[in-house]
């Protein structure tokens, strides 16, 4: 049992670095994470509201309550529209924030490079690190719509 627990722990240890990165993101831009969370919530909300309302519509129509069916359909279309707009706005904010975050991160790395001494730069291992930086694609390359 303990072994399984160990294995579980090590196989997910990378989240440690992931969280460290999220912290950096939080430090660089306070709004990135909240915007993302709001977007997630809005998305899930829209899916399940849709499911609930459409099953209600089917039931009311089966009971031949057409008026109520109309009203429910109206609510479904209306919420879809409103949530859709909310999500579009949030998505816009998120995309922009992401580019900004990407830029700030690049800049942060470069500031570190400029502070570093020459000897460390010529060192092969660290040189590799430097190259890595140039190879990290930016959000522009990835989420270009």
């Amino acid at each position: 049992m303990r072994k399984i627990k160990e294995k579980w722990k090590t196989s997910f240890s990378y989240h440690e670095y992931g969280i460290a990165c999220l912290k950096i993101a939080w430090r660089l831009d306070r709004s990135v994470l909240p915007v993302g969370m709001l977007l997630s919530i809005a998305g899930v909300l829209q899916i399940y509201l849709g499911l609930f309302l459409s099953s209600e519509i089917i039931d009311t129509l089966l009971r031949e309550q057409y008026q109520k069916g109309m009203v429910l359909a109206g609510i479904l279309v209306g919420t879809n529209f409103l949530l859709g707009i909310g999500r579009a706005r949030l998505a816009m904010a998120q995309k922009e924030r992401n580019v900004k975050l990407s830029l700030s991160f690049k800049q942060m790395l470069r500031e570190k490079v400029l502070k570093l001494d020459y000897e460390s730069m010529e060192d092969a291992k660290k040189w590799e690190n430097l190259q890595i930086m140039n190879c990290v694609p930016d959000s522009r390359e990835i989420c270009q719509r």
């Binding site: 990378y14 992931g18 990165c21 993302g36 099953s55 089966l62 020459y118 590799e128 890595i132």
Partner: protein, 493 residues
């Protein structure tokens, strides 16, 4: 050493910080979704039947449906974890191999096919059949790899689609039974079937996201480590005395040096005093330690043994930035940047125009720059819209102007004339006399001709100073210097 090439790295990297944030956001969505659907599924399983046949009622009982759901999930989990592990391993191998393949293609493209320098040789030596032959064998190798890749994706699709299908068949059956047994309404079919599908999709979404997050997190780890690196040069704090008379005296005390992590001594027990306000030359064959000598002097490296003093004080005790400010260096591989020429000379946004023009004039490029449409504001290189390209000689002169603008007491020229034709070379040497005035200047060169301008010549040989003196003295001594000199001079005798 197995250094990764730029290309391999670029292929390895799937994203940066913002990508990671996006992935985490997507994962958050998926988890939220799974949680909601689980609640719905539990509600579904907990609804009790009230009509239908015996079998229907049995299967739609609360404990039975719960048990069924859990068993199906576990079953699919077992299938996935047993096959997925293997597939993922294969994928990792593939991912590691892929950049190499792409890099080879890149090499063929960039270095064999597209370069006109190679093209002339290819034509003159009629290499086409030979190259095509080589490319074909490379293609065979690559095609093998690509086919494996395509197959992997196929197999992965089968696995994913298969387990997904199993889960969906089960879900629809479960919900149908519940409806038929009267546990839920017909309309609720849409809700619960939808929830189950959502559950399946989002679980696989999490499974897809995890490796991506893993990849980026581990790559980021290296960058996080890099951010933690200490600065080796923050050792001293003494400010440098500003002396208008430029009386700075540098001395090497038994300095030895090997590059960190290597055994070979590049410099061995070098002791010398730099003459004030003189013109010095450092000569020697390639690899004799000339450039390392300069790097140590500029504190780009610290000596492995021994120490260097400035006016009697170990240079490590000075504030690093201030120490550097006493040198104006034109390295052999100097760099200018894609900014306005003025900013390049001043190395900053604040440009003292008159001074900049003055320095450019001394370096001998004033006329060229003046002819440019925007003068000092003209940007360099094509990264700016109306950027100009300078010829090798002009760029070097701008680099020299930059060194002069700094107004530092030491001016160092590292093989400044390698790229120039004889006339321009002569010009620069002649000018340099005026340029350095009351400063100390040091030349490094393997063109021996430059030495004639210098009062003091240090000859490096295998990491040591083997001879030192004026040109005449050294020629008379008939040592290494004389040998190098004669090798070049014989043709002109």
């Amino acid at each position: 050493m197995g250094k990764l090439t730029n290309y391999e790295l670029r292929a390895r990297f799937q994203g940066d910080l913002s990508t990671l944030v996006t992935y985490y956001q997507e994962e958050f969505t998926a988890v939220l979704n799974v949680a909601t659907s689980v609640v719905l599924v539990i509600i579904l399983c907990c609804s009790a039947p009230n009509k239908g046949s015996q079998t229907l009622r049995f299967f739609s009982q609360v404990p039975v449906s719960l048990l069924l759901f859990v068993m199906v999930i576990l079953g699919i989990g077992v299938i996935l974890s047993s096959v997925m592990g293997k597939l993922n391993l294969e994928f990792q191998n593939m991912q590691e191999g892929h950049p190499r393949v792409e890099q080879k293609l890149m090499y063929v493209m960039e270095k064999v096919l597209a370069k006109y320098e190679t093209a002339k040789v290819i034509r003159l030596f009629d290499m086409e059949p030979m190259i095509i032959r080589n490319l074909d064998s490379l293609d065979k190798e690559n095609r093998n790899f690509f086919e494996n890749m395509v197959n992997w994706y196929l197999r992965q699709k089968v696995l994913q689609g298969g387990t997904g299908s199993l889960f969906r068949i089960f879900s629809y059956l479960l919900v149908s039974i519940k409806v038929l047994a009267g546990a839920i309404s017909v309309g609720a079919f849409a809700r619960y079937a939808g929830a189950l599908v959502q559950f399946g999709e989002n679980v696989s979404q999490v499974l897809e996201l995890e490796p991506k997050i893993r990849q980026i997190s581990l790559d980021m780890k290296e960058i996080l480590e890099f951010l933690q690196l200490p600065n080796l040069r923050e050792t001293g704090s003494i400010p440098i005395e500003k002396r208008i008379d430029h009386e700075y005296e540098l001395e090497f005390h038994d300095v030895s040096f090997s590059y960190p992590g290597t055994e070979e001594m590049i410099l061995k027990h070098v002791s010398c005093k730099l003459k004030l306000k003189g013109k010095m030359a450092v000569v020697g064959e390639n690899g004799a330690g000339k450039t390392t000598f300069i790097k140590l002097l500029c504190r780009l490296y610290d000596p492995t043994e021994g120490y260097i003093t400035l006016n009697g004080v170990d240079i490590r005790k000075y504030d690093y930035d201030e120490y550097l400010s006493i040198f104006g260096v034109v390295f052999q591989d100097y760099s200018l940047f894609s900014f306005p020429i003025g900013e390049n000379v001043a190395v900053g946004e604040a440009v003292a125009k008159e001074k900049a023009w003055n320095c450019l004039e001394k370096a001998g490029v004033k006329e060229v720059i003046q002819k440019m449409p925007k003068g000092l504001e003209t940007p360099l290189y094509h990264y700016e819209e109306d950027g100009v390209e300078l010829s090798g000689g002009e760029a070097q002169k701008v680099a020299i102007a930059r060194a002069l603008y700094k107004d530092a007491p030491f001016v160092i020229l590292d093989e400044p004339t390698a790229a120039l034709d004889p006339i321009s070379e002569y010009e620069i040497y002649k000018r340099f006399d005026e340029m350095v005035e009351d400063k100390t200047s040091i030349y490094i060169s393997h063109r021996m001709s430059s030495c004639r301008f210098c009062d003091d010549i240090m000859v490096f040989w295998q990491g040591q100073i083997v001879e030192r003196g004026s040109h005449e003295q050294l020629l008379k001594a008939n040592g290494n210097y004389a040998k190098l000199w004669n090798a070049q001079a014989q043709y002109y005798a």
